[in-house]
Amino acid sequence: MGCGICAAKCPKKVPDEFNLGMSKRKAVYVPFAQTVPLKYTIDRNACLYFKAVDAGKKGKCKACEKFCENNAIDFDQKEEVIDLNVGSVILAPGFQAFDPAGLEAYHYTEFKNVVTSMDFERVLAATGPTEGHLLRPSDNKEPGKIAWLQCVGSRDINRCDNAYCSSVCCMYAIKEAMIASEHSHSPFDATIFFMDMRTYGKDFEKYYNRAKYDMGIRFIRCRVHSVEENEDTGLKVSYVNDNGDTRDENFDMIVLSVGLESSACAMDLASKMGIELDQYDFAKTSPFRPVATSKSGIYVAGCFQGPKDIPYSVMEASAAAAAASTDLASVRGTLKRVKEFPPERDVSGEEIRTGVFVCNCGINIGSVVNVPEVAEFARTLPDVTYVQENLFSCSQDAQDQLAGVIKEQGLNRVVVAACSPRTHEPLFQETMSNTGVNKHLFEMANIRDQNSWVHGSDPEAATQKAKDLVAMAAAKANYRVALEPIEVPLTKSTMVLGGGPAGMTAALTIADQGFKVYLVERKEQLGGHGLKMRKTFTGEPVGPFLDETIKRVNGHKNIEVHIGAEPVKVTGFVGNFHTSLDTGVEFDYGTAIIATGADSVSVDEYLYGQNPNVMKWFDLDKKIKEDPDFIRETKCAVAIHCVGSREPERPYCSKICCSHAIASAIDLKELNPEMNIFMLYRDIRTYGRLEELYQKARSMGIIFVRYDLESKPKVEEVDGELRVTVMDHVLGRPILLAPDFVTLYTAIAPRGSEKLSDMFKVTLNQEKFFQEAHMKLRPVDFSTDGIFVCGIAHYPKPLDECITQAQAAASRAVTILAQEKVVIEPIVAAFVERDACRGCGLCVALCPYGALEIEDTTEGRKVKLISASCKGCGICAATCYRHAISINAFTDTQIEAQMHALLHH
C-alpha cells in the first residue's frame, strides 16, 4: 500500500543512492516518494535478515514483516528467470555521471565543499538531504559564493578519455546557478568557469542572457586547473582572466560540472545484445539511421546513443518506438489486450444511494484524523445510505469488498475519502466499471495529502477538515451523472507538409506502417536543403541517402506526392482534417506533420551581396564541389560565425553553423593544406561527438580567433581585395587578414510559419519557430491534438537530429492512426444551455486548443464544440458570462453544491 510502516520499523540504515549518499535510507525502501509502483522493496545487501542468511547463518529481525498490517512482506520470494519472445528491443539504459574522484587537482573526495553537479541537484531539491535549503556539506552553513567548473570529464583527453562534449553541462550549470541564487537568503555570488558557452538549443541563449544580464551570474572563460582548501574549509581557485593575468579567488563551495558517460551496466547490456559501441563507448549508430544499432531489430534511445538533453532523449524514445513499430507493423495489435467490462446499469431513474468509504491508509490518516468520527458524521449526510471504514481502501481485498457492497447495497454513487485522486481515482473507478456502475458516479475526498499529512500537529482541526471534505464530495456526488467516452471517426491518413529530409522521413515512417500519406512540397522537386548537403558532419555522403529516400517516396504505394503545391485551407480536428491545396486538390486526413523547414538569412553586413568573394553557407560548399581548382589556388580563407545569430534581433544560436563551418574548413584544408584558414567565432558550439571536428580542425592548423559582439570583425574592400580586421583576445590587439574569400555563417530563420500557424491554429515562439506542446516532455507534439512538428521548422538542427525528430513525429501520429476511432474521456466542455449562447466568440478567442469555433446556425451565431480537441481546462466555462458552457464533471451545479455543503453542513 506504500504506507511505509516497514521502513519506519526497519532498524538498518544505509546511504541513500537517490541522494547520492548524502542522506540515509532503510534496508526496506522505495527509491523516492513519486516512483511507480510505490511499493517498498527489501535491499538484500543491506537487510539484517538476508545478510545473515547469505552468510550461512540463521536470519533474525524481520521487523518489517512483524509490523506490516497487510501481510505484504514475503521473505520466501525467489528471483525468477523469465523468457520473453519479442519482435524488437529498445535499449534505454541511460548514462552515468562522470566520477571526478580520479582527477586529483579537484580533490573531490578530500574537500567536503567540492561537490558534483549531481550532488548539487539533490542539495537544491526539496526532497533532498537539506530539504532544498542551500547549505554546504562541511558546516551546514549557507554558502555565499559558489563556483561551477565546466567540462569535468568532458572535452578532456589529458586527464580522462572523454574527448566529446557532454552537451548538457553548460545549461545545467546556468540552471543550478540561477536556482541557487533564488534559494539564497543573502547576496549571492555565482561564477561559472567555462571554455565555450554551449547554449545551442531552443531558448537556451535567452536563458544564458538572463543569467548573465538579469541575474548577475559571472561567466569567466578559463579552465581551472586546480583547487586548494583554506583553513575555514573554503576553497581557493587560481585562474587566468581575459587579460592574461593570473588571479586567486576564494569560494565557499565548488560544483564540478561532470559529464555524461556510458555505465558499465549499459556496456554489459550491449555486449549481451551483441551491439557495437563507438570509440566513446556509446552505441554505434549512423546519421541516417540514428536510433538503429549495429544489430537488426535492436534500437537505442537516450544518452546511451550519445550525450544529450531531455527533449532530444524523448524524441529519440519516440523515434525508436517508430523504428520498432515499422518492423512489426504486420503483427500490430496481435498481442494487444483490451479490458472488458460488464454492461452498465442505468441508474438515472433510481433514488440516490451514496456509499462513503473512509480510509485510514494504515496510520497515514488514522493516526491524525479521527476516522470513526468522520465515518459517523458521513452517516448523517443526505442520501448517504452506506458508510464503511477501511484500513487500506486500495488493497485488492478492499476492492473486492467494494464491488460486493455496491451490488448488495444497490449503491449508485461512491465517495472514497482517502489519498489523492491523481494516483488512486483510476483504481476505484475501474472497480465501479467492473460492477456495472458508470465510473463518473464517483467522487474522491483527499483527506491524506491535503489533510493528515499537512495538519499532523492539529488532529482536531484535521478531523473537522476531513468532515468538510467528505460533506463536499458527497454533495457533489449527488449531482454527478453517468458520462460515456466520446467517440469520433478517424481518417487513417496523414498529411506531411514539406518534402525535405525531415518530411520525407516522416512520410516513409508512416507509409511503411501501412497508413496513407499525402506529402506536400512547395517546390517542384523533393529533397529540400538535403539537395545542397555534400556530407554529414561525420563525413558520410548525403547524396546516396537522399536519392534513395526520394526514390522510395516517389515509388511508395501509400504516399501521394504533391510537388509545387501549398495548402490554402485547413479545417477540422484530430482524426478529421480537410485540406485544399493551391493546385485545386483536396483531401481528408487524420493527422498532420509540419516539416516546412527554415532558411539561412541574407545580411547586408560584411559586404555580402557587394563582393562576389563574400559567400554564405552552401555557396562555399558548391565552390568546393564544382570549382576545386579555385580552392587549390587560394591562399587564405576567413569564416565568420554567428552572423545575425545571438544578436538582439535574433537572440538565439543557430546551432549547426559552428559544425558546418568547421567541417567545410577541414575540406578546404584537405584540398589545399597550404591555405591559411581563420575561423572568427564567439563560442565554438560543437556539442556531443561533434567536438571531434573542432579537435581535428585545430590539429590541422586551422586558426580560431574569438570576437565579442561589442567588437565584431570588419570586412572591407581595398583596391578590389578583401581585408578583414578582428580584435584578437590573446594578443590584445587587432589583426589584419587578407583573405581570398570570406564565408558568412548567417542565422537560420523560419519561413512561412506565421501563415501555417494561423491555418492549423498552432503556436509559434518569439522567433517564429513552431512551438511544441511541452519543451521537455512533448517535443514534437503541438497543444492542438493530431498535429506534430519536425525538422528545422522546430529549430535548427543537423541532419541526424532532423531524421530522429521526423521518426518521432511519425511515431506520435501513429499512436492516433493505430486506433479505430478517436476516443476521448468525456471531461470536456459541454453546453448547459445552448440557447444562452450568443456566439460572442470570447471563449473561441481564449481556447488554447482550438476546440471551439463560431458557426452560423438557423438559430443565429453559436459556438461549436469540438470535443475531440478539448482538454477540459475550463477557460471557456469561466469566460462565458451567459453561463452557456460548463465542463462535464465540474458543472456550476456541482461546484455550488460543494460550496453549499462546506458552508452549511
Binding site: F18, Y29, V30, P31, F32, Q34, T35, V36, P37, K39, T41, D83, L84, N85, V86, G87, V89, I90, L91, A92, G94, F95, M118, E121, A125, T127, I174, K175, M178, I179, K202, D203, F204, Y207, G302, D309, I310, S313, V314, E316, A317, S318, A320, A321, A322, A324, D327, L328, V331, R332, T334, L335, K336, R337, K776, L777, S811, R812, V814, T815
Partner: protein
C-alpha cells in the same frame, strides 16, 4: 500494467514468426516514452527496469532548463 503470465506465454509462441511485443530496457524518461508510444500503437510492451521503481535519473534532478520547471 503488472507482469501478466498469460501474456508472457502468449508472446512466447512460435519462434521465427514476427511477434507483436517489444522489450524496452530502462525505466527512465526514455524507456517510459518508448513504451507508451508502442503500447498506444498496438504492441504489448515488456518494460524492464533494474531498480525497484520507474523514473531514472530525471527524477533526481531538481529543475529542468530552460523553463526551470520541476523535473518531478
Amino acid at each position: 500494467m503488472r507482469i501478466d503470465k498469460e501474456a508472457l506465454t502468449e508472446s512466447s509462441k512460435g519462434p521465427g514468426k514476427k511477434v507483436g511485443a517489444v522489450l524496452v530496457v530502462g525505466g527512465g524518461i526514455v524507456g517510459m516514452q518508448a513504451a507508451l508510444d508502442l503500447a498506444d500503437s498496438g504492441y504489448y510492451v515488456h518494460l524492464v527496469e533494474r531498480s525497484p521503481g520507474l523514473g531514472g535519473i530525471m527524477s533526481q534532478l531538481d529543475k529542468t532548463f530552460p523553463t526551470n520547471e520541476c523535473a518531478m
